[in-house]
């Protein structure tokens, strides 16, 4: 490696290839079009090529790769959900994540920290016991722990939370991890690109050509592209895409905000989440505390930030860690969370032939990036929902078969 560096230092031209080709002119038609160059869209592209040999595919991204929620989240990966369907699905994702740095040949800074969901009330403890039992049943490492174990893992935490909401115990989930989110997008982009898939940035889908209940193509700012298969993987933009094909869904968009502190020496080894105080916090590899709270309380389709968020969040953080009162917040931002009534995603086929949905990722979709890519690729290749996502189908609402994942939400919503 140092040798390569030296070669570049002495060479006037920098010949190292970019992560992926800079595609500018789309072909007239593709076997499949993926709308959205976030982690999900790029992962679906990667597995379409790798698992199914389908490479005549274009990924269209209206902004830049990973500029959506993939680059805005607090990077928590876990599988301690509440329903067996959810636990199985997210567990498959965690397993893919564990080998992903090697597979994509990029350091994702995947860091296994252990994940505590703190319980401040008797009813929260009950939910933790429930989740622990479901998790264990499916073979996922989760257990209920007392305050002694929490203090041992994080001595800096004030167990009484400044006397306001004393912690009674927690759900401890050993596989809980964090990862470098934009590297996940870049890794999948390079992996898809090197197999021949074309990625177009600054390319917006403006309308979708549906005739006789079937997809025929998309209109973009770079012209019309014909295709029989379209995957929408656009997170908070889903309602706009669904409007193009006149498809109703239960998705509502609420902003979700996050912030980071100034960097500190490493002191927080675990991931801590408090549903009652609406806090989740971990320390990044750069030393910043990465902090998030619950959704903004009403529907807004934009990524504006509010003072209410930092004010509320930091006051709760200081309840948990009084010594942080002099630490500064350095950045704040928001993403648009596509919320569903049962806190589970909407994945798979739709009533429109050739139109596939990967949506409803709300506040929980980063951890699902690998498995959503893999299952959506299989669903598109076979035109049949992958077994793991059967219970996440859009028609579950009409069938009154909701999944009931709300108890696994990291923070109250």
């Amino acid at each position: 490696m140092p040798f390569r560096l030296l070669k570049y230092a002495l060479n006037r031209e920098y010949k190292e290839p970019r992560f992926f080709r800079d595609c500018q002119t789309p072909k007239k038609s593709y076997d499949a079009i993926i709308i959205g160059g976030g982690g999900h869209g790029l992962a679906a592209a990667y597995y379409l090529a790798k698992d199914h040999g389908i490479t005549n595919v274009a990924v269209l991204e209206k902004g830049y790769i990973g500029g959506g929620n993939t680059g805005r989240n607090t990077t928590i990966v876990r599988s301690n959900y509440l329903t067996p369907d959810g636990v199985n699905f997210y567990d498959a994702s965690v397993k893919l994540f564990e080998g992903l740095s090697e597979e994509l040949d990029i350091n994702l800074f995947y860091s296994n920290r252990g994940h505590f969901t703190l319980a401040h009330t008797e009813s929260a403890m009950r939910t933790m016991r429930w989740r622990a039992e479901v998790n264990k049943h499916v073979g996922v490492k989760s257990r209920v722990v007392g305050t002694d174990e929490i203090s041992k893992a994080c001595p800096q935490l004030d167990i009484s939370c400044s006397g306001k909401a004393p912690i009674q115990g927690a759900l401890y989930h050993e596989p809980g991890s964090i990862a470098r989110h934009d590297a996940v997008a870049w890794g999948y982009a390079r992996g898809a690109d090197s197999q021949g898939i074309e990625i177009f940035q600054n390319t917006e889908v403006q309308s979708i050509d549906v005739r006789d209940g079937k997809v025929h193509g998309v209109q973009t700012n770079r012209g019309y592209i014909a295709t029989g298969k379209v995957l929408s993987a656009v997170a908070g933009f889903t309602p706009r895409i669904c409007k193009m094909v006149d498809l109703k869904t239960p998705i509502v968009i609420h902003p979700l905000q996050a912030c980071v502190s100034e960097p500190m020496k490493p002191w927080l080894d675990t991931i801590l989440v408090s549903g009652s105080l609406h806090v989740y916090v971990s320390q990044s590899s750069r030393g910043e505390l990465v902090m998030g709270a619950s959704l903004d309380p009403y529907e807004v389709h934009s990524t504006r930030s509010t003072f209410d968020f930092v004010e509320g969040l930091t006051s709760h953080i200081v309840d948990m860690f009084p010594f942080l009162s002099n630490v500064k917040v350095v950045r704040q931002w928001a993403g648009m969370a596509d919320m569903t009534p049962d806190f589970a995603p909407i994945m798979g086929k739709t009533p429109i032939e050739g139109f596939y949905l990967d949506a409803g990722w709300g506040t929980w979709g980063f951890k699902a990036t690998p498995i959503s890519g893999k299952t959506m690729a299989a669903t598109m290749a076979n035109d049949k929902a992958h077994d793991l996502i059967h219970s996440f189908r859009l028609s579950r609402f009409e069938d009154y078969e909701l999944t009931g994942e709300k108890g696994a939400a990291s923070v109250g919503h």
Partner: protein, 90 residues
């Protein structure tokens, strides 16, 4: 702080209000099919734009309607259901 106008109590901080979701016409429960009822309960025209929404002023227990642009977060008007007044903007 963002402000919202309650049709009864006037302009108040938005933290006094609870969002009740998009206003939808309820089909007749005794005549609606299961599919129509599911569509009413779950499905929305959720693309951004000007929406008619339920809001609740919590301290006074007042439910009312707001017409709001969900893309820009601008409230055009608020009124009690069935009592629309053109001038009642914030």
């Amino acid at each position: 702080m963002k402000l919202l106008k309650c049709p009864i109590n006037g302009v108040r901080p938005v933290s006094e209000f609870i969002f009740g979701g998009e206003f939808r016409e309820m089909p007749d429960p005794s005549k609606a099919t299961d599919a129509e009822w599911a569509a009413y309960v779950f499905y929305r025209d959720n693309a951004p734009g000007i929406k008619k929404e339920w809001w609740f002023h919590s301290p006074s227990g007042t439910w009312f309607i707001a017409e709001r642009n969900t893309a820009t977060d601008e409230v055009l008007t608020t009124y009690l259901l069935g009592k629309k007044q053109a001038e009642s903007t914030v």
